[in-house]
């Protein structure tokens, strides 16, 4: 299983000299194994998809939620406009509007020149709750997690290897600590003993305390959740758009120096590839 981080920035895309190393595109991850491929989230990073991959005719985009930074690239996903393509969009169910209708709010005039209902591809929209299914050779688990609005995380199993993707997550609202009991941990079933956890770490501890309830984690939240779940490798994701490369390095080094986690922790970088 290959994991290609196409966009790692949270909230909104950025482009400046001070943030070139970690990148400025918003969340999008390509997960592939042999000829199979799925795409996690459709932030602006989706435009970084390699052309060889986009020649495929069947595409699966799995959305964790519909906040703008996770769907902003959807309208620029070329297969949507290819009449010979089959595009499947998967995302969280809501108690009210359908997933299609919620996506259509963004992908329709005046916010977008075309309407989602008029795209020429063969489009399928699938709603997800807490589920388990196989797709493109991957076994996929979904669970609702703690984040404002309908939001799910993914666990993707490929043979013996597993990765969890929880890009936007506030496991404990208003507290820097998490519950000790696994039964009470948002996201636990997704991360439990996974080989790789890609997790929200938007804030420093100080900034988290000023952003309680916004739905994001501090670096400490992410590390403590990974530790509690027995994750074997943690990649810190959804970087704050105000954090330059230098600030990210500084925050990370400060955190790591004061802790002794037994699993590798690193900052997600646009263009990073991970083999599992």
């Amino acid at each position: 299983m290959k994991i290609n981080l196409l966009g790692t920035r949270g909230s909104h895309p950025i482009s400046n000299q001070e943030s070139v190393y970690y990148g400025g595109s918003t969340p999008c991850i390509q997960v592939s194994s042999g000829q199979h491929q799925i795409i996690l989230d459709a932030g602006t990073g989706i435009v970084n998809l390699r052309s060889s991959r986009s020649e495929k005719k069947e595409h699966h985009i799995l959305l964790t939620h519909l906040h703008m930074d996770h769907i902003q690239g959807l309208g620029f996903f070329e297969p949507l406009f290819d009449s010979e393509s089959e595009v499947h969009i998967w995302g969280p169910v809501s108690s009210q509007d359908s997933l299609f209708d919620r996506l259509q709010r963004f992908l329709s005039p005046p916010l977008f020149p075309l309407s989602l209902r008029d795209v020429p591809c063969d489009l399928h929209v699938h709603e997800l709750a807490d589920e388990k299914f196989t797709l493109q050779g991957f076994t996929i688990f979904t669970r609702f997690i703690s984040h404002p609005g309908p939001t799910i995380g993914f666990r993707i199993q490929n043979g013996e290897k597993s990765m969890a993707y929880i890009p936007d997550h506030e496991p404990m609202i208003g507290s820097l600590d998490i519950y000790a009991d696994a039964n009470w941990l948002s996201g636990y079933d997704l991360c439990n003993n996974c080989d790789l956890l890609i997790h929200d770490a938007q804030y420093s501890t100080e900034k988290y305390l000023k952003r309680v309830g916004w739905g994001h984690s501090s670096i400490k939240h992410a590390a403590e959740l990974a530790k509690a779940c027995g994750a074997k490798h943690l990649v810190l994701f959804h970087h704050d758009p105000s954090h330059t490369d230098e600030m990210l390095n500084s925050l990370f080094e400060k955190f790591i120096d004061g802790n002794d986690y037994t699993f590798p922790i690193e900052l997600a970088r646009e263009g990073m590839e991970i083999d599992l």
């Binding site: 709750a129 196989t134 493109q136 609702f144």
Partner: protein, 142 residues
Amino acid sequence: MIVTLNTRRYMAHDIEIILSRQLADSLSVPVFIVDTDGTLLFYNEPAEYILGKRFVDTGAMPVAEWSTLFQPFDDDGNRLLPKELPLVKTLYRKEPAHGSFWIKSLNGSSHKISVTSFPIIGRAKKFSGAVAIFWTDQKAKE
């Protein structure tokens, strides 16, 4: 190819239950959280005074255990059946319920309490359990 598999058995509670606990942890009124079987999954610190037990000591409790820790009765002193309690009504009907009744505390004094309970039904319409909020109506009845 898309194949739906059997439902997985989860270790963690549904997110609606987890978030209910986070709310309960931050409230000053007693709160119970039960699953669909009536198992008391969590009670907050103010509720520990009603049960006379601490959550860290008991963990989750089956309904047969926690329901015997206080003895509910009506204004005339008649013992209430479990099905007459708001929380049990909510579990059976999946609807909010409210009621006032008396309970006897561990020190022997009686308190009139009101209980409001509501079902926990998430976005996918899944019924995960219920929450009950308690508060004391009057001073202790000697």
